[in-house]
Amino acid sequence: MNEKGRKKILLSAGIIFVCLFCLAPFFWMFIISINERPDFLLQDGMSLTIGNFVEVIGIGNLHFLDYLKNSFVVASVTAISSAFIAALAAYAVSRISFPGRIILIISVLALSMFPQICLVGYLFKLMSGLGLINSYSALILPYISWSLPLALWLQTSYFSQIPTELDKAAQIDGANRLQTLLRVVLPIAVPGFLSTVMLLFMFSFNEFLFALMLTTNYTARTVPVGIAMFQGLHGELPWGYIMAASVISCIPVILIALAFQRRIIQGLTRGAIR
């Protein structure tokens, strides 16, 4: 067989492998979520139902809708605030020449490599002291800070692709720096800004350790903690509920991943490429 043929076979095998490898656990998650019993492998066969979905949403004591709402609020507020705060800084870094720019970016990026465990003990005491445990602020404030490095990194690279002539024209027309950012740079960088927001939303939506430490019940608890803590009444884990909740919770992030895959990949790799 010639090389082209061999390559084609290897490639097809590779594609099938990637799909199976990535999706098989999801398939399983879905199967369990629509089955009456999680142990159907030992039974005669499947008995399909949407009961798990109806119940995990409908049973108030499970608080799944509360977790979902909390996650959406926390992740949206975090993503938008963080992207905006980072846009300000990214504007300065990409447009104003001041000493220490590079050091600023590099050291901010280094911060994102700190292990979260080095913060949570202190944050717990801090938030307890402020009476914020179990509030949205207890999550949003650390989340914003935690996501700023990535947001700064992404937006600096988007902004530096926009020619500075546009800014100068605006400034000649009498616009100050903030006006230039809001009216000239950001409108051009909307796709970049949006994908930054989406990526930050994903990170905040998925975060676990902070949320585990800083919330105590459904008033602020987010989906990951909720799903990690689902307990059955009689000890056995309610797998049907857990998987139904998982399927629902995965939908928004999967949609984001699919819709923004090009930009997410660009964003994630731009830093690494440089």
Partner: protein, 285 residues
């Protein structure tokens, strides 16, 4: 102070304030707390480096360190190999490449806790599909979470599933910088695809592989979510990561010793981060 500098400071201030309040001060606070005896029902007392001495003779801590570093090494190694293979696939001109890349992003995009829950179910001894498959192909069921080795393997596999796509995407970016004409010339000169990969592509993407390697190692060293859900650190503490070990002390209200454990992880990550920045600087210059 020049006007430029003033403006720059105003624009950067919010970012700096947030990062200082909720990252820098907490980290410094953790260092400071590690020097105190800080447990419930006892007056807070400065004890200097006493907790660090306790750490040295704390076997469970060493077990956690051994587990964490082994876990990081093994899973990152596997992820780099698989990640490179997947990146090579995704780099080809194939139909529906966008969709395929989107699919590759999914395991990484969903909450790690959810991934861990699904794997927990897959690994179940009695009705998990992993053992069902093993039985169907004539092998014996494995009690995954019953033995340290089984738990370790279960964790590595779940982590490999979750983060290989991420590695693949980073490496993919590197592959896209490899010039097609060089590869074509090599093909004309009679190099087969393996020779082309190892002789041309590999050296060109080496820097990015190193970046991905360090990035992932730092990330793997702080593993928490996966261990918390999948094994809870068991059996018998065999899969307790440093993060989980520290967390358990925080949970008990022992903020002094929990901080000490965290500081060690911080130092481990810092060493790697410094390495990362040095490589970054080298490449920038």
């Amino acid at each position: 102070m020049s006007r430029e500098l003033k403006e720059a400071i105003i624009f950067i201030m919010p970012l700096v304030l947030f990062i200082a309040s909720f990252i820098l001060i907490p980290v410094l606070g953790t260092f400071w707390n590690s020097l105190w005896l800080d447990v419930p029902f006892v007056a807070r007392k400065f004890v200097g480096l006493q907790s660090y001495f306790r750490l040295v003779s704390d076997e469970q801590f060493w077990q956690a360190t051994l587990f964490t570093t082994t876990f990081a090494l093994v899973s990152v190694l596997i992820e780099m190999i698989f990640g490179t293979i997947i990146a090579l696939v995704l780099n080809e001109r194939i139909r529906m490449r966008g969709l395929l890349r989107g699919i590759a992003l999914i395991p990484w995009a969903i909450p790690s806790v959810i991934g861990a829950r699904v794997w927990q179910l897959i690994y179940r001894y009695d009705y998990g599909i992993a053992n069902w498959v093993l039985q169907k192909i004539g092998l014996a069921s494995v009690n995954w979470f019953g033995s340290p080795l089984g738990s370790f393997a279960a964790l590595v596999l779940a982590d490999v599933w979750r983060t290989t796509p991420f590695v693949a995407i980073i490496i993919l970016a590197g592959l896209q910088t490899v010039r097609g004409d060089v590869l074509e010339q090599a093909q004309v000169d009679g190099a087969n695809m393996f020779q082309r990969f190892f002789k041309i592509t590999m050296p060109m993407i080496k820097p990015i592989i190193i970046v991905a390697l360090l990035f992932r190692t730092i990330d793997a060293l702080r593993v928490f979510d996966l261990v918390y859900v999948l094994t809870g650190g068991g059996p018998g503490g065999a899969t307790t990561s440093i993060s989980l070990y520290g967390y358990k002390f925080f949970l008990l209200g022992d903020f002094g010793y929990g901080s000490t454990v965290s500081v060690i992880l911080f130092i481990l990550a810092l060493v790697l981060a410094v390495l990362y920045i040095r490589i970054g600087k080298l490449r920038a210059s």
